[in-house]
């Protein structure tokens, strides 16, 4: 039926290199999530703050992150900001691009989650003598993070998928970059990318499944 000869061997001998790339992909995604969640919390606080300029900064960030392509954001983090003489390595550019995106989407999720938490709780906290910060940190924040757990898992999966865009800023150590390099060497496009696809699938499944287990342990009631 097919007169195409698959040469899986050429790809399988290079599998260790691709798995190294998968580790870098995980590293970028995890870092971008940790920083992204922190930034998203800060953005949420800025949005809640009374200050107009701070609110504008937060809203601007969130809307740009959500309304332009991730590829554009990553390209901008490398070539765009370099017009101002600021240079980031491909790794850092990719990390900044994905983190910027993560923070924007997560902050929007957090906003939705906040709506589900009644105002009365914060007021109850205040009347117990908590400061505004304490009330946010001890009462609102934990609930907000719990309600947003599923969206956060989805964002983590997206972060993994977004690492594939790093090649546009010269990244070649992540899974997609390694695969592309090997493709330039051997031209076995289909075989290489099929294997890369399988690795990506396994990683994302691993994340969603472990998130489900964590969720069932943490939020049992």
């Amino acid at each position: 039926m097919f007169d195409y000869t698959f040469q899986w061997n050429q790809v399988l001998v290079r599998l260790p290199k691709m798995l190294d790339g998968a580790l870098v992909t995980m590293e970028v995604a995890v870092l971008s999530m940790l920083i992204g969640i922190t930034l998203a919390i800060i953005l949420t606080i800025l949005r809640l703050s009374g200050s107009r300029p701070l609110k504008a900064v937060a809203t601007g960030w969130i809307e740009i992150a959500r309304n332009t392509p991730a590829l554009f954001q990553i390209y901008m983090a490398h070539f765009g900001v370099a017009s101002f003489g600021i240079h980031f390595s491909p790794f850092v550019s990719l990390l900044i691009g994905i983190t910027f995106n993560n923070a924007g989407y997560l902050a929007e999720n957090f906003r939705g989650a906040l709506k589900a938490i009644p105002d009365t709780q914060a007021r109850a906290g205040r009347s117990l003598g908590m400061s505004q910060i304490q009330a946010f940190g001890y009462i609102i924040l934990p609930q907000m993070l719990r309600i947003s757990f599923l969206p956060m898992t989805n964002q983590m999966v997206w972060a993994i998928l977004m690492t594939s865009l790093g090649v546009t800023v010269g990244m070649n150590s992540d899974l997609y970059g390694v695969t592309q390099d090997l493709n330039a060497l051997t031209f076995r496009t289909f075989e290489l990318f099929a294997i890369a696809g399988v690795i990506f699938y396994v990683i994302t499944k691993f994340i969603t499944l472990s998130a489900r287990i964590i969720a069932s342990r943490l939020f049992r009631y």
Binding site: Y4, N67, F72, L161, L165, T189, A196, G197
Partner: protein, 217 residues
């Protein structure tokens, strides 16, 4: 900063790229939504075990980077099947399936959000399955899923920036071509980003408004 070598011809060139972005998005969202509704209803009707193969198939589109999906589809169709399909066709095909995978989730969520008791009430009033779907489930599920669907459609537009790998010159690729010639990366990137933003932002706001409205009453 605004002294630019950008000519009217270049703006038309960019506009053409933007046109391709919109056309690819529109085709993929329409086909993807039809397929997504079909897949979503099938999954609910068949139950988790019978629909497992479908679930797994759709899951692939949500678990593998779109860039890899495009490269794989392109090389499989061309190298293995030896079909002569244009890059535009491959781009629309992959994006449609990609859309349908997410859309099926929304449809399933929407249907699940309709209380079982409401549907049983409809059936006990003598409605057929089709009538129940048409008059009870569809209006209620649409209300739940519509805001997310707008988000999905906008997501597809932004993700369509990746179809450059199958030689489709959409907006971001057109921008890169102009950067190659004019060497004004920041200025051109800002134009490109502004374009996406202008289309996406009002629609996203509209989605937010719908969501607010449906959650208030």
């Amino acid at each position: 900063m605004f002294e630019t070598a950008l000519s009217a011809a270049d703006l038309i060139f960019l506009a053409k790229g933007a046109g391709i972005t919109i056309v690819v998005t529109a085709i993929s969202v329409v086909i993807g939504t039809v397929l997504g509704i079909l897949f979503g209803v099938l999954r609910v009707q068949l139950g988790p075990i019978l629909s497992a193969p479908l679930t797994l198939f759709l899951d692939i589109f949500r678990s593998v980077p779109l860039l890899i999906q495009l490269v794989l589809a392109n090389s499989f169709i061309g190298m293995v099947l030896k079909l002569q399909l244009s890059g535009f066709f491959v781009a629309c095909m992959v994006l449609s399936l990609y859309t349908s995978a997410y859309c099926a989730e929304l449809v399933r969520g929407g249907i699940d959000a309709v209380p079982g008791i409401t549907r049983r009430a409809a059936r006990s009033l003598g409605m057929s399955w089709a009538q129940d779907m048409r008059y009870i489930v569809l209006p209620l599920a649409t209300r739940v899923a519509l805001p997310s669907w707008i988000g999905l459609a906008l997501g597809v537009m932004k993700d369509s920036a990746l179809v450059y790998v199958v030689q489709v010159t959409e907006l971001l690729k057109s921008t890169q071509i102009l950067i190659t010639r004019l060497q004004e990366p920041l200025f051109l990137l800002l134009i490109c980003g502004a374009f996406y933003f202008i289309i996406s932002f009002p629609l996203a706001r509209f989605g937010g408004y719908l969501e607010k409205r449906s959650s208030n009453d």
